[in-house]
Every structure is written in C-alpha cells, then in structure tokens.
C-alpha cells in the first residue's frame, strides 16, 4: 500500500471523523521492513470494550501502538478508529519521508533515541491499513480516538539530553471535536480506556471536563487483565490546573513558567511562532 492508501484507509473521505485524524505519522510512511505487529495482546485488551450502541464514543489512551493495534477489534465492535498520535519521528532517515523523498540522509549526524518511540505505531498503522480499507462501517459509526499514553513523558528512562530527539507532545482540547459536535451526532457517552487507571491524564482532563460539563457522560475502564475495573464506570473528571484559562499572557510574563517539555506555559497553549 502506498502512503496515500494507508492514510485514506484510516481517514476515509466518507467518515466525518476523518478530519480529526492527525496526519504527522502518515507523513512518515511507509516504514520499510515493516513486520506484522503482534495483535494478540491488543485483541485481549479489547475484550473489555463495550460494543457500539451508536451513542458512545471511545478514547483509548494506551501506551505505544496498543490503540492502533486494536483497530480490528474496534471495527468489530462498530467503532471508527481515529488516530490522534501527534509525535513526530526523528528526521532520520529522511528518505522515509515522502516530502523529502529525493533527498539523501547520508552523512547526517546520528541521532540518539527519541523520547517517544513511534516506530511501533507506524508499523501498526501500516499493518492494519488493509483491515480499515476493507471495513464496512457506516459513515456515522462512532469514533474511537487513539492516543499514545507515553506522549507526555516519553519512554521509560528517557532523558532530554544531547543527541536525544524530544518528540513529546500534549493532547489539547482542540485536537478533538467539540462537545457541541459530539452531541449533534448523538454521542451522549464517552468511555475512556486506559491500561490501569480510570481517571484521565492531566492534559486529557481539559477535553473530557469540557465534554462532561456540556452533558456528555464520561466513563472509565482499565483494560489490563490484572485490574478490577471490568466494566465502564462513571468518572467525575477532576478540574485540571488552568482549566479554560484562555489567556496565557500573564503566565508567560510571570516568569515564563518552565514547561517540562522545554517550551513554556503549563498547557502548551499556542504555537511559538507567529
């Protein structure tokens, strides 16, 4: 499959959720030497996910490629997988990037390990594309938004030091449809699926609390076999720091609150460039 085929499989024109698909990883396809991802773990985790009742959307905040590897199970349950992976692979090897396809990466300085290893996700996107392509979901099948739970912290043991490619990212409310949009599509309930916890990560809380306040019910489920939360439970999303703080100038001025990712501001509010 070509890069475009893979993208179109995950973001088909017929699905209204496709516009939210984050394109950055698709821009770095195809990966060479892709091997089939082991879907058995993902398939096992997916067993606890509820089948679609058309009024429920999923948010899968799972480490690495687990969400993308669950694509088959999600399709079986009637959900449209919507990848929101927003970490960029290191610029090498440049020849893997279509935009740079005519370029050589020979002699480029060797990079250290990236903070977030997106290679497994790239492989899962590529490997599962035929599944998506052959799926017969209705255009209005509810979405299952896919996130990498390592996005903010990076891999275990990652240190943002020399040679490291710091590709961590944060999930923002603007990455998702608004509560108005969800409600207009009769989505009344969102199930957040994580590996162990049911309370959302701090960055995701900003989105989920907005939805909750608009009347969308938020449920949580932990998918790891060793957890007790076998069925979705009601979650009262805690108000995260700086919730709905649309005005960041004051924070920026008051000492440029150092952000753990290297920028500033607690929430990565806006682009740095003008």
């Amino acid at each position: 499959m070509t890069q475009q085929d893979v993208y179109d499989a995950w973001a088909p024109a017929a699905s209204e959720w496709s516009q939210w698909v984050k394109p950055v990883l698709f821009a770095h396809l195809p990966v060479t030497g892709a091997v089939g991802a082991d879907m058995s773990i993902a398939g096992g985790l997916a067993e606890r996910l509820p089948p679609s009742d058309r009024a429920t959307a999923l948010v899968l905040d799972l480490p690495g490629a687990l969400g993308a590897e669950m694509a088959g199970s999600l399709l079986e349950r009637g959900y449209r997988p919507v990848p929101l992976y927003n970490s960029c692979p290191p610029p090498e090897p440049a020849s893997h990037v279509s935009f740079f396809s005519s370029l050589s990466s020979e002699g480029a300085p060797s990079a250290g390990p990236p903070a977030v290893d997106v290679q497994p996700i790239l492989r899962a996107l590529q490997t599962n594309a035929p599944l998506l392509q052959g799926a017969h979901l209705p255009p209005d099948a509810p979405p299952a938004f896919l996130l990498d739970a390592n996005r903010r912290t990076g891999q275990t043991g990652f240190v943002s030091g020399p040679g490291a490619f710091d590709n961590r990212s944060i999930s923002l409310p603007t990455d998702f449809p608004s509560s108005n949009f969800l409600l207009s599509r009769r989505i009344r309930r969102v199930v957040l699926a994580q590996q162990h916890a049911i309370q959302p990560e701090a960055d995701l809380s900003h989105t989920l609390l907005r939805w909750q306040r608009a009347g969308v019910s938020i449920m949580g489920i932990a998918l790891a076999p060793d957890t007790d939360v076998r069925f979705p439970q009601r979650v009262m999303v805690q108000r995260p720091p700086l919730f709905r703080n649309a005005w960041y100038g004051l924070m920026a001025r008051m000492g440029l609150r150092p952000h753990p990712l290297g920028g500033f501001g607690g929430l990565l509010p806006h682009s740095g460039g003008g």
């Binding site: 516009q19 698709f26 935009f99 300085p109 005005w247 460039g273």
Partner: protein, 430 residues
Amino acid sequence: MTVSSALSSRPPSKDIDDSVAVAAGSILDRETFIGIRRRMALEACKWDPQVEDVSVLQPFPLLLRRAQWRYLAACAEALARETGAAERALLERPDLLSKLAVPPRLAQPILRGLRSPQPLAAEARVMRFDFHPAQNGWCISEVNSDVPGGFSEASEFPSMMAEHYPGYAPAGAPGPDLANALARTIEHIGGRQASAALIWAAGFMEDLQVVSYLGGLLRRCGIETSLINPQHLRFDRGRASLIAAGGCQPLSLIVRFHQAEWLSRRGYAAVGSYLLGDSETPVINPGYAMLSESKRFPLVWDDLRMEMRTWRQLLPETRDPREVRWRRDARWLLKTAFCNTGDSVSSPLTMPRRNWFRSAADATVFPNRWVAQRRFESLTIDTPLGPVYPCIGVYTIGGRACGIYGRLSRTPVVTYAAADVAVLVEEEFE
C-alpha cells in the same frame, strides 16, 4: 486613499493599487479539496489541519489584483527597511531596551549582536507584516519579526490551489526562498560540510511542522539538517556544534525557530546568549529581531528620532498604557509586549468580562509590559463560508517581499485559531 508614502518616491500609476477590495474565489468541490488537504498533510508538513471543529485550510482562495500585490509588497519592503534602521539605531540608545520590555538578562547579548551583525545572516533575515483591510485603507497590526511561521501554508498551499484557478498564481514562495537564502549563506561561509540546525521548542507541534518543512527544503539544497532543542547545542569560542550521539558536529548555520524571550529561562543560560548575539555561527533570525518583535517597538521611535514614515502611516496609534484612557475608552485595545499569536490582545468588546478584567488588572500593575493600541475597523469580506476578517501577511526575506500568508478570522482579532487561506494574485500577461 492616496498612494502610501512608502511609494511616494514613485509616481502614482495604474501598476500600483492600494484599494482594499479583496475578493474570495469560488469554492472547490469537496473531492478536489480533500485531495489538496491530504497533499498538504502528507507532502508539505501541514500537521495541524484541524482545530476542534474547524478545518484550518479553506477550500477557496482570496484573489488580489497584481497591482494590489505590488502595493503591499512595496509597503512591506519599506517597512522592512525602516525596521532594520530602527534596530540599528537602538545600538546608540541601549537604555531603550527596557522600554521595549526586553528581559534584562537578554539585553547584553542582543546589543553585542547588534554591534557586530553578521552581514551574511542579514540576507536571510525574514519578517512578516500582517496587513488588514480597514475603513481607511490597508493597515498593519504588527510585524512578526522574531520567528515568523506559516511558510508551508504560504508556499505549498497557494501553489496547489492555483492549479484550479486559471489566471491566478501564488504571490511567491517564501519557504523555498528562505531555504535558498539560507543555502546561499552557508555557501558563502564555505567549509567542508554544510550543516544546519533548526531549533524549536519541544512539544509545540505547530513549530515542529515549520522546522520540518524548512529542514526538508534545506536538504533538497544538499544541506544536512538537524531538528533540535537549544540544549543540544555547544558553543566553543562562539562556534556552534551539535551534540549528537556520535559526538560533536560543527554547524554552518542555525535557524532559530524558538522565541527569543523564552531563552531568558534559566535552563538556557549556556546557549541563550550565543543564540541572541554572541555566536560566530550565523543565527537566523538574529537575536536583535526581538527588538522589533516587541509590540512596544513604536514607543521608541520618537526617542530614536526616526521618521518611520511607512510604519506611522500603516500602524494604528500605539501608546504606553499610562498615556491614554484605555479603561474608559473602548477604542483602545491592549496587548502584551510579546504577543505572539494574538493570544493576549485584550478588549472589552471582544473578550469575556472576566478575561478583560484580568488583562486590565495586569496592565495596571505592570504597564511597561503592555501597550495600548487604537482599534481599527477591520473590514470583512464575503466568502463562500460567510463574512470573515482577512489578514494578509506579507513576507520579506533580506528586505524583499516574497509571498503571502493568508488567514481568515471570524472575529476582528486574528489569533492562532484563524483559518489558513491561499492568496492568489492575478497573473501578469505580457
């Protein structure tokens, strides 16, 4: 409106048109536009094509007459000349840097950079002037002088859209033009291996896509590129090298897509001063770009005894908040000195009361970190999606106008949430 003073040296002519009438082109069919959106995402590093429920890329262009583009280009070039002159003049008045709200920690390296500017880097200096059609003609809201972005949206997007609008062409291609200017700079420097580092702040995908795009263009010019954070740099007697896993590699050039004011953070002490002025390796944009990036830049013109004719003609009246009655007069708005994406533009007419009170309180306590500016009545244009406020961002590279970044906003204030629109210019026929 008469022809701008920016152009007063040349006689008024039918080749120059300062009218603010901007037309929207017809809307593309859905399938064609989905194809363009996909190409932008997969081929041109447009990795944030959706903001909440809004598709950032608009499926229709804005159309300018060739003579209008000449007018805007001439204004931008005049503004760039005046900006450069005022920056240099600040060398004689270092006391004014505090008036610009430059953090004290950054002032000295910036002044050192001004004292010994790198002429090669000046050729690749990039600015973007944001023009708005208003009741009394075109006006500008600011210059994005420090780290202007939007290169892919201003280069690749208009190029893709123009394929569907016969008789129209992009105003230019600032992305490739900047890459070429950077490549020429590296070529002049010489050296065994051409390598550039593009610096961005980790976590900001919007910024990463800009450096990824520029990095790709540089590689096309045969230049090795690395996308790094500031802490991955080492300076030895002013010469920059990249600390990579395999050891240090000397750099020919640094592209700084990282706000100057963020370098005042303690974590950047080791490299901040080099990036702002002490580096022997060319840094683009130079640190002193921060001086004109400050929204308080107009407050020092009189102190510098600079004429700034084009600036004064196009920029709404701008004052220190202590000098005007902005609390009682809604014709004034407030913005912070380093307001990067319109996020701190504050007016009781355009924001919730609570936010306005917070801005007002802060401007009262710290007036030297804010500026008051006359609101201008921005004109809307009719588009297939309804009336919107356009913003025409004209780039200059090395002082020459070279393209347009078009944005549309539902509100008079253009923020990070504005949509991108391709601006096409009537083709010239011999």
